[in-house]
Amino acid sequence: MSISTQTSGDGQTLTIRVQDRFDFNVHRDLRQAYEAAGKRFGNYVLDLRGTTYMDSAALGMLLQLREHAGGKRQAVRLTNAQPVIRDILAVANFDQLFTIE
């Protein structure tokens, strides 16, 4: 499975990793990953270190996650994105919606 999750020690942060291609095929798995906990975490981290491709459906999924997280820019952090993924996020100007590290 290309989606894996990890909860921080204090239970405040949910980290989701997306491996390889981040596209429509991971839609259900990603949604399950943050809905399975049955609660809203204080912070969400989407670790993109292993993500090699991202399409517009993936950008849509990010919007859904953001909404789930409460709609604030600080609530979802996108980390470790490779240059090609950074470019995609930059063209969409998603830095206005997410904290990109």
């Binding site: 517009s56 459906a57 849509g60 859904q64 063209v91 969409a92 100007n93 998603f94």
Partner: protein
């Protein structure tokens, strides 16, 4: 051969095999030995099968041709054609059905047994036959048959479903085609290419000409493909065309599209889009880019002199109160061209998995002497070869050729009026705060259309009103120096100041009036635009009545009179009946 129905049940029951697993099924038994025939028949009848019996392959073929058996048990050695031939014949007769075929044979040579499987048998039972083993093998064969049937049903359902979806897509495609987005691009200075990867395109290009004389374009890419995107295309097309036709500015169009897309589509769907507005007269180009690859401006000599990067979020992402509709403005010069492409162009893969890339696009742009879109399509085809397309591919190339773009109607061409020319007048006055939030041109245009409407002459009338209004607002009320707009840096600062001063405007108003008088030839429309602000605010260029915008007004009007230090302008526009 007579059909035999099951005899009285005997006492045999295998531990884990259902007693009547052959219920409702027809078994064909083929054996020239009457004893073997009888033994197998007994066992199958006990299992619930309806049994048909034949002593030769020829008889069996005749039986099987009339009625498809569910199972065949057959000896290899038969008088005449052998069991192998029968197996092949049954398989040939029912190529799509799964009919378990068991050989029951006394042969024990491995080559003979292998041949059974080669001709298509499912299993072999070596004589003497024990009831337990035969039942076990039959059960296994039927299990495979059941599985095959389930798969077949699912395959058929899937095929049916595919046909349904395909038909829905075709209908959606017809509707989209009938909208006529492509027709809006039939402009002499425009070339484009739309190549959907599927029936329906998630990319869209729409063109339009505003009544004020601007060419407007929407170049967009919906999230995903297929029906949801097609529904979005329909909505966007309607809003864009209507607003361009009414003369709305690009900011208003962007704002409305954002509102509409956000209102209608689910949260994870949006429209990456570039909105473009080009005025032939002034050369002003305004671009709003939310999520599209950079738009490139190329000069006549093949130099990329400017790019409009995406600086906004795509349409439909932000709520109305957070949406930023401010476009970027630049100046175009004759021979410049604008090129837009969707990410499907640069992400197109070749057989080695490499992307087409931006550099190849730029190379094609700067190589002179060819049609850019045509050349790029050829490059793309060479690059991709047989590699399947995985995204919609779109390009738009707009050449800035003011004379072609202007192509105004002949001033004296008669107007075919559907309504009688009448006496009427109207007046709209906007105060300083209303000017911040309302573009009055579409408003007065709608009033004019509703009362009279001048068909093909609307363009010119809109141009006159727009020019006089802009002058009253920018040079009059806001005191901006029109000469600033002459060069690239001044141009940017002009619009920056415009934004700033409009926000800070605390008094003043602008009045736009129409008065129409019919006569025997047609009629005269008097257009009055007057500005009431603090006199000292007005820029010196308000007095410059040779300004280019005014020249264009003079070109199409019978007369233009300026009074009150240039703050009041009255244009008389004459039209002729058809």
């Amino acid at each position: 051969m007579p059909r035999t129905t099951p005899a009285v049940a005997d006492t045999f029951t295998a531990s884990n095999i259902s007693r009547n697993f052959g219920d409702g099924l027809v078994a064909l038994i083929v054996d020239d030995s009457e004893i073997d025939q009888y033994l197998v028949q007994r066992m199958l009848l006990d299992a619930g099968f309806t049994v048909e019996v034949a002593s030769s392959a020829e008889d069996a073929i005749a039986l099987a041709s009339n009625c498809q058996p569910d199972l065949v048990c057959c000896d290899v050695r038969l008088p005449g054609a052998d069991g192998y031939a029968l197996c092949s014949a049954v398989r040939a007769r029912y190529p799509d059905a799964y009919i378990p075929f068991l050989f029951i044979t006394a042969l024990s040579d491995e080559r003979d047994l292998l041949k059974c499987f080669e001709v298509g048998a499912d299993d072999v039972v070596v004589k003497p036959v024990t009831q337990t083993l035969l039942r076990a093998k039959l059960t296994a064969a039927l299990r495979t048959r059941d599985m095959h049937q389930v798969l077949e049903r699912q395959r058929d359902q899937l095929a049916l479903f595919r046909t349904d979806v395909q038909r829905d897509m075709e209908i959606a495609k017809t509707i989209i085609d009938n909208l006529g987005s492509e027709k809006t691009l039939a402009l002499p200075n425009v070339s484009y290419h739309l190549q959907p990867m599927d029936t329906l395109n998630g990319d869209l290009i729409i063109g339009g000409r505003s009544p004020g004389g601007a060419q407007c374009f929407l170049f967009g890419d919906f999230t995903g493909h297929g029906l949801p995107a097609a529904i979005g295309v329909q909505v966007v097309h309607g809003v864009f065309c209507a607003m361009v036709a009414r003369g709305h500015a690009i900011e208003c169009i962007a704002t409305e599209l954002n509102r509409k897309v956000r209102q209608l589509l689910p949260r994870d769907r949006f429209l990456s889009a570039a909105l473009i507005e080009i005025y032939a007269d002034s050369g002003t180009i305004s671009v709003w880019n939310g999520g599209m690859p950079e738009l490139l401006v190329c000069s006549k000599d093949g130099r990329i002199k400017k790019s409009f990067r995406s600086t906004k979020l795509p349409l439909g992402v932000l709520p109305a109160d957070e949406f930023d509709a401010t476009p970027t403005r630049r100046q175009l010069h004759e021979g410049d061209s604008l090129f837009c492409y969707s990410d499907g162009v640069i992400e197109a893969l070749n057989s080695a998995g490499q992307m087409f890339g931006v550099e190849r696009v730029k190379l094609a742009l700067t190589a002179a002497g060819h049609d850019v879109v045509e050349a790029l399509c050829a490059d793309l085809e060479r690059h991709s070869g047989a590699t399947p397309q995985h995204d919609d591919v779109s390009m738009l190339h707009v050449r800035f050729e003011p004379d072609i773009m202007r192509a105004r109607h002949d001033q004296h061409a008669p107007v075919d009026m559907s309504r009688a020319a009448t006496h009427w007048h109207c007046c709209v006055a906007l105060g300083h705060d209303a000017l911040r939030s309302t573009d009055p041109i579409p408003v007065v245009g709608a009033v004019m259309d509703a009362i009279q409407g001048f068909g093909p002459r609307n363009d010119e009338i809109y141009m006159v009103v727009s020019a006089l209004f802009s002058r009253a607002l920018e040079q009059g009320l806001l005191g901006l120096d029109a000469s600033l707009k002459c060069d690239q840096t001044g141009f940017a600062s002009y619009y920056h100041q415009l934004e700033e001063r409009l926000t800070g405007l605390t008094d003043g108003s602008i009045e736009i009036g129409f008065a129409h008088t019919p006569d025997h030839e047609g009629g005269v429309l008097e257009i009055t635009v007057s500005e009431r602000g603090r006199a000292q605010a007005a820029s010196a260029s308000l007095h410059d009545n040779s300004h280019a915008d005014l020249e264009a007004v003079r070109d199409v009007c019978e007369s233009l009179e300026l009074s009150d230090g240039g703050r009041r302008a009255v244009a008389r526009y004459r039209w002729y009946k058809g």
